[in-house]
C-alpha cells in the first residue's frame, strides 16, 4: 500500500491535473451515454401506461378507429359512468347487474395477493434457512427435489390442481389460491442463493451462545438481514398473484362475491362485439393502480443505495 501512495505523490502536479481533466471529460461522456440509455428505456417503460390512460378517455369508436393514441380525448367521465353502470348509454351492458365493482374486486385481489405473498415470503425464507444454516441428512436431496419441482411445466399440473380443488369442494373459496404458496420452489431457491453469502453463520453461533432459541434467531436475526431479498421477491410475488387470471377464473367464478379485479376486467371483454373499449381501458387502469401503490411502497428497498442487509448500521 505504501509504495502505491508514494507513487501518487511522485506524480507531477501537471500530470495530475491533466489526468483529472481527462477523467472529467470521460465522466461527462459516460454520463451522456448513460442518461441517453436510461431516458430511452424510461420512455419505453412509460409509453404503454400513457396509451392505457389515454384510451381510458376515448370512446369505443375512437379506439376502434385508431387503437393507439398519444392524445387523450374527453370521454373519461362517460367511460366511468358506463363502467360503473350508472348510465345506460352507449354499449354498456343494459342490465342492472354490476360486473365491475372495484371495491369488492380490490378486496378479493388484495386478500389473495397479500396472503399468498406473505406466506410465500415467510416460508420460503424459513425453508432456505433450513438448507443454509443446518446440516441434516436429507438436505441435499431436499434441495435437489425443490429444484426439480420448480422445473415441471405448470400447464398440465394446473388441470390436476383444479380438479382436486373441485373434488374437495374448495372451489368458491380463496384458500386454494393462497395456501399453496407455502411451497414456492423458485422463491426458496432465490432465498437460498441470497442467504448463502449474506448470512454469516458466526452471527447465528453467537446468538446461540447468548441463549437465543432457533426460531428467535431466525425471526430476529436472519429475517432483518434478508429484508432486501424479501422486498424484491414480495414485489414479484404480489404482482404475479395480482395479475393471475386463469386459476382464479376457474376456482372462484362459482362464488359471485369472490371475483378478483382481473376477473372483472376479463368479464368486460365478454362478448367481443359488444365491448365498451374506453370503459375497458379505464378498468385496466383502475386494476393496475393498487399494484403501483404496493410497488412504490416496497420500492424503497430497490432504490436504497446502501446495503440494507448488512449488519453494520
Amino acid at each position: 500500500m505504501s509504495t502505491y501512495d508514494n507513487q501518487l505523490t511522485e506524480m507531477s502536479e501537471e500530470q495530475f491535473r491533466h489526468n483529472q481533466k481527462e477523467k472529467k471529460v470521460l465522466k461527462t461522456l459516460a454520463h451522456i451515454g448513460i442518461y441517453t440509455v436510461c431516458i430511452i428505456f424510461t420512455l419505453l417503460s412509460l409509453i404503454p401506461f400513457w396509451f392505457m390512460i389515454s384510451n381510458a378517455t376515448r370512446t369505443t369508436s375512437q379506439i376502434y378507429g385508431k387503437s393507439l393514441s398519444l392524445v387523450p380525448s374527453t370521454h373519461l367521465v362517460e367511460n366511468y359512468k358506463a363502467l360503473m353502470k350508472t348510465d345506460e348509454k352507449g354499449q354498456a351492458s343494459s342490465s342492472g347487474t354490476q360486473n365491475f365493482d372495484p371495491v369488492t374486486g380490490f378486496r378479493n385481489s388484495f386478500i389473495v395477493s397479500a396472503g399468498a405473498t406473505v406466506l410465500a415470503i415467510y416460508f420460503s425464507t424459513l425453508t432456505a434457512y433450513a438448507i443454509v444454516v443446518y446440516d441434516w441428512k436429507l438436505k441435499r436431496a431436499f434441495f435437489t427435489f425443490i429444484m426439480a419441482v420448480m422445473m415441471i411445466p405448470t400447464q398440465v399440473t394446473a388441470i390436476g390442481f383444479y380438479l382436486m380443488v373441485f373434488r374437495v369442494h374448495l372451489n368458491g373459496t380463496l384458500w386454494p389460491l393462497i395456501l399453496p404458496s407455502i411451497a414456492s420452489p423458485a422463491m426458496v431457491f432465490f432465498m437460498k442463493q441470497y442467504m448463502q453469502p449474506a448470512l454469516s453463520l458466526e452471527i447465528i453461533q453467537s446468538a446461540r451462545i447468548d441463549g437465543a432459541g432457533e426460531f428467535y434467531t431466525f425471526n430476529k436475526i436472519a429475517l432483518p438481514i434478508m429484508k432486501p431479498a424479501m422486498a424484491t421477491q414480495a414485489i414479484f410475488a404480489f404482482v404475479s398473484s395480482w395479475n393471475n387470471l386463469f386459476l382464479p377464473s376457474i376456482l372462484l367464478s362459482s362464488n359471485a362475491k369472490l371475483k378478483t379485479l382481473p376477473m372483472m376486467v376479463a368479464l368486460l371483454k365478454g362478448d367481443i362485439y359488444k365491448v365498451n373499449m374506453g370503459a375497458l381501458y379505464l378498468a385496466i387502469t383502475i386494476s393496475i393502480l393498487p399494484l403501483f401503490i404496493v410497488y412504490f411502497a416496497l420500492s424503497k428497498y430497490i432504490i436504497a443505495g446502501v446495503a440494507l442487509g448488512s449488519v453494520k448500521g
Binding site: 376502434y64 347487474t97 376457474i250 359488444k274
Partner: protein, 452 residues
C-alpha cells in the same frame, strides 16, 4: 341413485302435494322440491339478464337463480364448466350456455353426455320448433347424434347476409335497391361467380368489394358439403380448399383492403371514408360493430348509408346455445326458463321483446332472433339501414345457413387453415407446401384425427 332419492322424497311429499309428482308422460322426473336454487353458468351477462327478466315477470317462479359468469377470453370458461359438470353436487350447473366456437363439444362432442334433452326438461320440443320456425342450422347444431335428441337451442339468429354501402352501390350501378344489388352480387345463387363479376365492376370504380379475406371465410366455411373431420379422418372439402385460391385472387386483384377482423383497418372500412363495398355478417355485426363504429373522429358518419341483401352462399356467424344438465334436480324449472328463452313466440316471450328492442324498455337494440315466427310479426326496420326491414333478409338468411358441416374440432382446424392460407397469399410459400403444412399441423395438434 339421485333419481331414487328424488322419487323417495316425492313419495313423502305426496301426502301434501298431489300435483307435479311422479314421471310425466314424456319421461320427465319431477323436480326435487327441496332444491330452490338454479345454478346458471354463462360467459357473459346476457343470459343471466334474461333470466332476471323472467323472474321479474314471473314472481311466482319460486327459484333463486345463482349465476356464475366466467369470461371466455382467457380460455377459463370451458375448463371451469367441465370441472363443475364433473364435480357434481349442489354447486353443479343446472343450466349452461355455450358459444358457437365451442358449442359442438357440448351438444355433439365429448361433453355432450352431460346435456339433458329438451324433452327431459319437460319441453314439447318437436312441436315447438315447428311452431316457432326455428332455423334449421340452430337445431342441427343442438341435436345430439347419439340419440338424435335436441339438447340445445339458441335465442339469437346469427344467419348472415351481405351488408353493403348504399352510396357505393349508387355510384357503381346507379341504384341501392336491395333486390337489384342481390342480383348484382348473385345473392342466394349458391355460387361465387356473379360475386366476382361485381368485384370487377366495383374495382373499375376504385372500390374493393370486401374489407379483408376474413370477411368471406365464414360464408365459404359454411358452404362446404363435408365438415373438417369425418370418421376420425381429416377431410378437405373442395369448397373449403378453394378458399386458398379465393384469398389469393382477392389479394392479387386488389378486391379487398387486406384488413384483419377487429383491427383498425377493418373498422376504418365501416366509417364514412371507408372504401370497401360491404361485409358478410349477421345482424349483430350491423348493430354492435358497424353501427357502433360508423362515426369518424370528425363527426362524419356512414349511418343510414347501409343496406342488407342475401349473400351468394348462406352462412351463420356466432351465436349462443342454452343447455340443461341431465343431473339437475330441478329440470322442469330449468325447462321453463329455457323454453321461454329459446321457443316462446308469444309477445311476453323473450324473443319478441328481443326482436323489437323492448327487453329493457322501448327503444332498445332490435336483434334477429331464432324464431322466424317471431320475426314475421316484429318490426325489423332500422334507420341505420336507411329504413330497410332487416328481418325480410335475415329470415331467409337463417334458412340458408347450414349446421351439418360442423365438428367439435373446427375452431382449431380453421385457425390452422387460415394461417396457411395467409402464408400462401402473402407469398411466403407455394400452394402445395401450404396444404401439406396444414395437414401436418392438424395431424400433430389433434392426436385423434388421422391425416392421409
Amino acid at each position: 341413485m339421485k333419481r331414487l332419492i328424488a322419487t323417495a322424497l316425492c313419495g313423502i311429499m305426496t301426502v301434501g302435494l298431489l300435483t307435479g309428482c311422479g314421471a310425466k308422460d314424456n319421461g320427465t322426473v319431477a323436480d326435487d322440491p327441496s332444491v330452490k336454487v338454479i345454478n346458471l353458468w354463462s360467459f357473459t351477462d346476457e343470459i343471466p339478464n334474461m333470466v332476471k327478466k323472467y323472474c321479474d315477470m314471473h314472481p311466482d317462479f319460486g327459484y333463486e337463480v345463482k349465476t356464475t359468469i366466467v369470461a371466455t377470453t382467457d380460455g377459463a370458461y370451458q375448463p371451469a364448466l367441465d370441472a363443475a359438470l364433473q364435480g357434481g353436487g349442489a354447486d353443479a350447473p343446472d343450466m349452461y350456455a355455450a358459444e358457437a366456437a365451442f358449442v359442438l363439444k357440448y351438444t355433439q362432442g365429448d361433453a355432450s353426455s352431460y346435456a339433458a334433452t329438451y324433452k327431459e326438461l319437460g319441453i314439447d320440443v318437436d312441436q315447438k320448433i315447428k311452431d316457432a320456425q326455428i332455423a334449421s342450422y340452430s337445431v342441427e347444431i343442438g341435436t345430439r347424434p347419439s340419440d338424435g335428441e335436441v339438447v340445445a337451442l339458441g335465442y339469437q339468429a346469427t344467419g348472415g347476409a351481405f351488408i353493403y354501402r348504399r352510396s357505393i352501390a349508387k355510384d357503381v350501378w346507379g341504384t341501392d335497391d336491395p333486390a337489384t344489388i342481390k342480383e348484382k352480387i348473385g345473392g342466394g345463387s349458391g355460387s361465387w361467380d356473379t360475386f366476382w363479376k361485381a368485384a370487377a365492376d366495383l374495382k373499375a370504380k376504385g372500390y374493393p368489394i370486401i374489407s379483408g379475406d376474413g370477411d368471406i371465410w365464414h360464408a365459404i366455411e359454411n358452404s362446404s358439403d363435408k365438415g373438417w373431420v369425418e370418421n376420425g379422418k381429416l377431410v378437405i372439402d373442395p369448397k373449403r380448399e378453394e378458399f386458398i385460391d379465393i384469398s389469393k385472387k382477392l389479394m392479387d386483384n386488389g378486391w379487398h383492403n387486406d384488413t384483419r377482423d377487429w383491427q383498425d383497418g377493418w373498422f376504418a372500412d365501416m366509417k364514412k371514408d371507408g372504401t370497401a363495398f360491404g361485409f358478410f355478417g349477421p345482424a349483430w355485426l350491423i348493430n354492435y360493430t358497424i353501427g357502433a363504429n360508423c362515426e369518424s373522429e370528425n363527426g362524419d358518419t356512414s349511418y343510414g348509408d347501409w343496406a342488407v341483401c342475401q349473400s351468394p352462399i348462406g352462412f351463420f356467424w356466432g351465436g349462443t346455445w342454452v343447455l340443461g344438465n341431465k343431473n339437475s334436480k330441478v329440470k322442469n324449472a330449468v325447462g321453463k326458463l329455457i323454453e321461454w328463452i329459446t321457443l316462446d313466440t308469444s309477445e311476453t316471450g323473450l324473443q319478441y321483446m328481443w326482436a323489437n328492442g323492448t327487453l329493457n324498455g322501448e327503444g332498445g337494440t332490435k336483434d334477429t332472433v331464432a324464431s322466424g315466427t317471431v320475426m314475421a310479426k316484429s318490426n325489423g326496420e332500422l334507420a341505420f339501414l336507411g329504413g330497410q326491414n332487416m328481418f325480410d333478409v335475415f329470415v331467409e338468411a337463417n334458412k340458408y345457413a347450414n349446421g351439418k358441416n360442423l365438428t367439435q374440432y373446427d375452431e382449431g382446424i380453421n385457425q390452422a387453415w387460415r394461417d396457411q392460407v395467409r402464408a400462401y397469399t402473402s407469398g411466403q410459400k407455394d400452394r402445395e407446401t401450404a396444404i401439406k403444412d396444414f395437414k401436418q399441423t392438424v395431424a400433430d395438434t389433434f392426436s385423434t384425427i388421422t391425416v392421409e
